[in-house]
């Protein structure tokens, strides 16, 4: 009864919801039972947000405990560190290099730990650093950084068999279909 756990983390407004909507549709397309858990309420107010996705033949709990995530997808590099306790032994971390200042930093009470990714790579064997924001900007719009990360995750988790292009087409605004597809492919190619 093996299930796989995915933890998405980032900052409110970074597009974790669109990511997880497309992801769950893809997992359903692959015939898996899927559950997803997210905590709303503070989403638009710059707070840390996480979404947990679990899939397998049969999934019971929608949420993950510490040591239960097979992969962490982090939209902001500090958030990868904040949630690292969820990673199981041998699990993968995919993180953007994006840096967003939280309240204590804006107030001058703390400084952004710029070198934190080095520490992450020293500790966790499977870390993949993706410059999703940069790639998305080069493709034309930073808002598709989330889909760049999705492409990278699909490759890392060997989930190619789903009809990702079809799902993207039916999930994003029509004008942005090509941009989102390009973002997915760019992430997958990393």
């Amino acid at each position: 009864m093996a299930t796989t756990g995915i933890l998405l983390c980032g900052v409110g407004g970074q597009g974790t919801v669109t990511f997880s909507n497309i992801l769950t549709k893809g997992l359903m397309d692959l015939g898996y039972d899927v559950k997803m858990s997210e905590i709303h309420g503070m989403a638009q107010r710059g707070g840390a947000v996480t979404t947990q996705v679990r899939y397998g033949e049969k999934v019971y709990s929608p949420s993950l405990g510490f040591g239960q995530a097979d992969i962490i997808i982090s939209f902001e590099k500090c958030e990868a560190i904040r949630n690292i306790a969820y990673l199981r032994e041998g699990g993968i971390v995919i993180t953007d290099t994006c840096e967003l200042n939280g309240l204590p930093i804006l107030q001058g009470a703390a400084e952004y730990p710029h070198g934190i990714l080095d520490e992450l790579e020293k500790t966790v064997p499977n870390v993949m650093v993706v410059e999703a924001n940069k790639v998305a900007a080069e493709l034309g719009n930073v808002v598709v950084a989330n889909i760049v990360l999705l492409g990278a995750m699909v490759k890392a988790m060997h989930l190619e068999a789903a009809d990702w292009m079809g799902i993207i087409e039916s999930s994003v605004p029509p004008k942005t279909i090509d941009l989102n597809k390009a973002a997915f492919n760019a992430g997958y190619a990393m």
Partner: protein, 584 residues
């Protein structure tokens, strides 16, 4: 039929539609808000509204149910406290059309002031209670609750928790039935709870619940999984999922979907067969108390934490002693990331001004986005006004010269703040009452309220003017100020007037939330920038703590993508270093 993925809240809305609901009312509150937002998708079939508060919503629902319509009312757990007066009445009147109260508890306090366990309300108010454990059950239980309500002439409490509301799982959809409204039949003895009538109703209500308790023994909401083990678990709601995750099919499980009235025979039969009996439930020992009252020994809150949210790892460690290890620890501190007021938030100007006079003030907060600002204490909806009366008296008694300033938002003003303002005016207490009017119920995700011009179904409606209400109470030009909170001078002048005035004083800060679609459109392309030649690096602007503002290389920096052009930081700069950058 193919399956779709739905959150528990979406599934409850779907279940309501399938179950023939024609009237729905609610006051928003996380984690329940999306239920009515999704009911609104069926607005051609269901009349739905945001009521001014939960008590009004419950009375709208009870009126509709007595009138013959299948109806529903939703609220978060503390919202149910507000609604209990009519809910306890519904326990005695029973229904005509089915009536379901949907309550969303918040174990873990993800967005609430407590972890109260509302299951106790079911026996207390004499309601039947259903507890779904995933989205499929949310939909099915909600659909079936209306027939249950009508058959046993009882209101039903559908009790959810955050993790059920906000997790998504697969749901098989069905069709709508039962939407025919029953005729309203005059029956004063049933629907008018005068003492003589109420006393006659009481044994009828007890009989109805007894009838349901008997049938609960075999109703399909409750399920036994006999896996031939000598260990059994009794559980309900989301806890069932954690139990299955930890034990799979290795223990026997009694999963209760109908958790009030208790199926005593079913529980006894199950409990008597187990060598070891666990009760797994979040927060209070609700089921455990019943199992123990039936005379069975069990392991419950002595092992399972009663504080905080459960998950499978917590249940596993509590019952098996096995802990899933946190494998990796990364050296170095990661700064916290609490939620904060958005860029362009009108509340930022208000808080900038009042926090500079904080030494002269005791600040009473309330529930809303302004909970992210500065205040001394915050209780519950409406207390931002009403508590100031008591606080002012207490300060006066101890010779404390500080003035009390209370704050409520526009939606909170209509919810219950206005009642506190009646008291402030009647007692002529020496406080400043501030309505932070951002023209929307913002914190829960932009719902309309009596002060806005649209309703939940997207139709135009008349807006109630807060200023007109305040004047109708008796406030005049002498003790009302209406200001734009992002105009610091005007805001400061209003506060000074309030501090210097003796007796009640009202400040209405009026500026719409920066996230409202029309406001976003109007602000598109507007932003400020820093003239680094003029910037001295004094950080006064940084003091407004705006997410668009940071400090880099000895100077302030503004992110044009986040900046809305509100100009608050520019007003703060003594050196004229923050200037308009975009198209204004």
């Amino acid at each position: 039929m193919s399956k779709v993925i739905m959150s528990g809240n979406e599934a409850v809305a779907r279940g309501a539609w399938e179950g023939g609901v024609t009237v729905a009312a609610a006051y928003p509150g996380t984690p329940s808000t999306e239920i009515l937002e999704n009911v609104a998708l069926y607005k051609d079939d269901i009349y739905c509204e945001w009521a001014p508060n939960e008590a009004v919503a419950a009375e709208v629902g009870l009126g509709a149910a007595v009138g013959g319509a299948r109806s529903m009312v939703t609220f978060k757990h503390v919202g149910m406290n507000v609604a209990t007066d009519p809910i306890f009445v519904a326990g005695y009147t029973g229904v005509n059309g089915g009536l379901v109260f949907v309550d969303a508890d918040d174990p873990g306090c993800h967005s609430s002031q407590n972890e109260q366990d509302n299951r106790w309300y079911a026996p207390h108010a004499k309601l039947a209670m259903l507890e779904p454990s995933d989205s499929q059950e949310c939909k099915d239980f909600m659909r079936d609750a209306f027939a249950l309500s009508e058959k046993y002439d009882t209101a039903v409490l559908l009790r959810m928790t955050t993790r059920v509301c906000h997790s998504k799982s697969l749901v098989e959809l069905g069709d709508r039935s039962g939407a025919d409204v029953k005729p309203y039949v005059y029956n004063k003895e049933k629907y008018s709870l005068l003492p003589a009538n109420a006393l006659k109703r009481h044994p009828i209500v007890e009989d109805n619940l007894r009838r349901l308790a008997e049938d609960a023994e075999t109703l399909p909401f409750n399920k036994v999984e006999d896996n031939g083990s000598d260990t059994g678990v009794i559980t309900s709601g989301i806890s069932y999922q954690y139990v299955k995750e930890v034990f799979g099919d290795s223990v026997n499980i009694l999963k209760l979907g109908l958790t009030y009235p208790f199926p005593e025979k079913l529980i006894s039969d199950f409990a008597s067969k187990q060598k070891t009996l666990y009760i797994v439930e979040e927060n209070d020992p609700f089921l455990e108390t019943e199992v123990k009252a039936l005379g069975f020994k069990c392991v419950g809150k002595d092992k399972i934490p009663g504080c905080g949210e459960l998950n499978s790892a917590v249940v596993k460690e509590a019952l098996t002693g096995v802990k899933d290890p946190s494998v990796y620890e990364v050296a170095g501190e990661v700064p916290s990331r609490p939620p904060m007021l958005c860029a362009g938030c009108p509340h930022r100007g208000f808080f900038d001004v009042i926090s500079r006079s904080h030494k002269r003030l005791v600040l009473a907060g309330d529930i809303g986005c302004y909970g992210l600002g500065t205040y001394d204490y915050s209780f519950c909806m409406g207390a931002g006004f009403s508590s100031t009366v008591g606080m002012a008296k207490a300060l006066e008694l101890q010779g404390d010269k500080r003035k009390v300033l209370g704050m409520v938002g526009d939606s909170t003003f209509f919810h219950s703040g206005v009642n506190g303002l009646f008291d402030i005016f009647s007692t002529q207490v020496n406080v400043i009452a501030c309505v932070l009017d951002n023209s929307i119920t913002a914190m829960t995700g932009h719902q309309d309220n009596p002060g806005t011009t649209k309703n939940l179904m997207g139709e135009d409606k008349p807006a109630i003017s807060i200023e007109a209400v305040v004047r109708a109470i008796g406030f005049t030009d002498e003790n009302i100020r209406v200001v734009d909170p992002l105009d610091i001078k005007a805001m400061q002048a209003a506060l000074n007037d309030g501090i210097n005035h003796t007796g009640p004083f009202v400040i209405i800060t009026k500026r719409p939330c920066a996230l409202i679609k029309e406001v976003r459109k109007a602000n598109a392309g507007k932003f400020y920038k820093v003239d680094t030649e003029k910037c001295t690096g004094c950080k006064v602007c940084i003091g407004v703590t705006c997410p668009a503002l940071s400090f880099e290389n000895g100077a302030a920096k503004i992110d044009p993508a986040q900046c809305t052009g509100c100009g608050l930081c520019a007003q703060k700069c003594h050196f004229g270093a923050i200037i308009k950058g975009g198209e204004f």
